[in-house]
């Protein structure tokens, strides 16, 4: 058996292990092993590539490995769990950027003379998708990091200009492939620029609250860019892994859209998701019932079942550890405690679950919307901390802004307690009917302080 076949078989093994690794992510019990399997698959693919290719000079390769490895390792170790969306956004961009550079490198390597054959077309595709992914991810990163405004940035003829740029990119690609131009290299460089500009112009009109959709979509693009790079260099393992990531990103994108009851087109072009320009004059004008920590402790401590609904406000206040203590104390008193997590509770898919896992909440107590919605009507009390739109009964009324958005049916429980700083509106910028309902209590205050007060009061119940 010659060396090349061995290399090809190693690539095949690597592709199989990527699928096996992802499959293990189907349960929290096997997920960590799955991730290690995928990492090993990556290692195999790298070894196979190094063996199979004649490396002219090792120095640049080692420089790249060491720099990238150090940055990646330090970032992975230091990043806060609340900052995961930014980090994934940034890493997506690097993946897309690397794929684009592979395509650019191929084009430059042959001095622009690729012709209109398969590899030429795939180089253009890889460059374009990779370029858009790179700059789009950088904008998403800046928005999530709040280094630039989370509000949608719009200007006249935005969609038209994007459409013109897209057509321009297709024309430039044809010209770069040698369709009647003296200087394909120049056309190619302009194409790279257009791709980078388009990543920016496609991302800035999307509001901060819609960023979970955007990073999922960019995740999908980074996979497609890797697949395109696979077509460029004729490597199956790239095509396969890229396709897996592309599918994963697309599924998450659709789930996030469903969680907000929005179409992908509406997210991408709707310039929604900011909080500007909404009439707030009526908010907080209706009477509510409020309660202090002692009353809330009594409401929760003497019942059979409690469901806790955490929202992103909880993570902002860094109160997840105190909340977990509340849950533990209630369980010690014999109360059945569950956590209900809405698909868009955090800033990226599954974000809230990670934050609760970090606070050491057992994962078998975490329930998603479909699993738990029927339970609310048999539940004594629901404690809502820092969540807002995701439990607003207004979503059931067709005429309201958030109509049709899937919500947690918390109002069906016998008692609801909303822990919140004030009556101010959430991301959707609308009032929450739940606050004014008869069986609801408002527990006003800072989440962290209120939760530690609650811990003390539950201990005092005796």
């Amino acid at each position: 058996m010659n060396a090349h076949i061995l290399v090809e078989l190693t690539y095949l093994l690597s592709a199989i292990l990527f699928v096996v690794g992802l499959k293990r992510l189907q349960s929290p019990a096997t997920a960590r092993a799955g991730n290690s399997i995928a990492a090993f698959a990556m290692f195999l693919a790298i070894i196979a590539t190094v063996v199979d290719n004649e490396i002219l000079s090792w120095t640049p390769i080692l420089i790249g490995f060491v720099t990238g490895g150090l940055i990646g390792a330090v970032a992975a170790r230091l990043v806060k769990m609340t900052s995961m969306p930014e980090m994934v956004g940034l890493f997506n961009g690097f993946g897309g950027g690397a794929s684009a550079l592979v395509a650019v490198g191929e084009f430059v390597g042959v001095g622009g003379a690729v012709g209109t054959g398969t590899s030429g077309v795939t180089i253009m595709l890889g460059t374009f998708i990779g370029g858009v992914t790179f700059s789009g991810s950088m904008i998403a990163f800046l928005k999530l990091k709040e280094w630039m405004t989370g509000n949608p940035i719009t200007y006249p003829l935005q969609k038209t200009l994007n459409a013109i740029m897209f057509v321009g990119a297709v024309v430039l690609a044809a010209l770069a492939l040698g369709a009647g131009t003296q200087d394909p290299m120049m056309m190619f460089y302009i194409l790279v620029t257009v791709a980078l500009v388009m990543g920016v112009t496609l991302t800035i009109p999307i509001g901060g609250a819609d960023m979970p959709v955007v990073i999922s979509l960019l995740n999908s693009y980074s996979g497609l860019a890797a697949s395109a790079a696979g077509f460029v260099i004729g490597n199956m393992v790239l095509i396969i892994s890229g396709a897996l990531v592309g599918a994963s990103g697309l599924i998450l994108t659709m789930l996030m859209c469903k969680g907000m009851n929005r179409s992908l087109a509406n997210v991408a072009f709707g310039a929604f998701g900011g909080t500007a320009g909404i009439d707030r004059s009526q908010i907080g004008k209706r009477p509510v019932k409020s309660a202090d920590a002692e009353m809330v402790a009594a409401e929760l401590g003497y019942v059979n079942s409690v469901i806790i609904v955490p929202g992103y406000g909880l993570a902002v206040a860094q109160a997840q550890h105190e909340l977990r203590k509340v849950g533990d104390l209630l369980e010690d008193r014999g109360v059945d405690v569950k956590y209900a997590v809405h698909p868009v509770a955090g800033r990226m898919p599954g974000h809230m679950n990670v934050l609760l896992a970090e606070a050491d909440v057992s994962y078998d107590k975490l329930y998603d919307l479909d699993e738990i919605n029927d339970d609310f009507s048999n539940t004594d009390a629901v404690l809502i901390v820092g969540a807002h739109d995701v439990c607003n009964p207004a979503a059931r009324e067709p005429a309201r802004v958030i109509a049709g958005m899937p919500i947690l049916d918390v109002d069906k429980a016998r008692r609801t307690i909303v822990m919140k700083r004030s009556l101010s509106p959430g991301f959707a910028g609308i009032d929450n009917d739940l606050f004014y309902m008869d069986h609801n209590l408002m527990f006003f205050g800072d989440a962290k302080q209120s939760m530690s007060d609650l811990v003390r009061e539950i201990r005092d119940l005796g």
């Binding site: 990527f18 699928v19 690794g21 992802l22 929290p28 960590r32 991730n35 990556m42 190094v50 004649e54 490396i55 002219l56 640049p60 790249g64 990238g68 490895g69 940055i71 990646g72 390792a73 970032a75 992975a76 769990m81 995961m84 980090m87 994934v88 890493f91 997506n92 690097f94 993946g95 950027g97 794929s99 550079l101 592979v102 490198g105 430059v108 390597g109 995740n219 890797a226 790079a229 077509f231 004729g234 490597n235 393992v237 790239l238 095509i239 890229g242 897996l244 990531v245 599918a247 599924i251 998450l252 898919p349 599954g350 679950n353 990670v354 896992a357 057992s362 994962y363 078998d364 998603d368």
Partner: protein, 92 residues
């Protein structure tokens, strides 16, 4: 069948396999899924190695080094942070 067609078959079938596997990932693990998938998209490192390995001019060498560095950040950072997150998921 040309190389492009074979590639397309592989791409489509891998997408379908990915869909089957990933729709069954529970929402609890969607963040680790995304960061893990992100690490996998660092497979572009294979392409970066090919470009850097056969680079002759300065331009190509620089492109190759930057591509390798970016892809390595993605791979190392992605797998490590996913492992860190999954280590937090405990049952008790």
């Amino acid at each position: 069948m040309g190389e492009l067609m074979i590639g397309l078959y592989v791409f489509v079938l891998a997408t379908l396999a990915g869909r089957e596997v990933i729709t069954k990932v529970p929402p609890t693990l969607h963040t680790p899924l995304m960061s893990g998938a992100n690490a996998i998209s660092g497979i572009a490192i294979v392409g970066a190695l090919v470009v850097a390995g056969r680079a002759e001019g300065t331009t190509q060498t620089v492109l190759g080094v930057v591509a390798i560095a970016m892809a390595t950040i993605n791979v190392i950072g992605g797998f490590m942070v996913t492992d860190r997150m999954l280590g937090m998921f405990r049952k008790h």
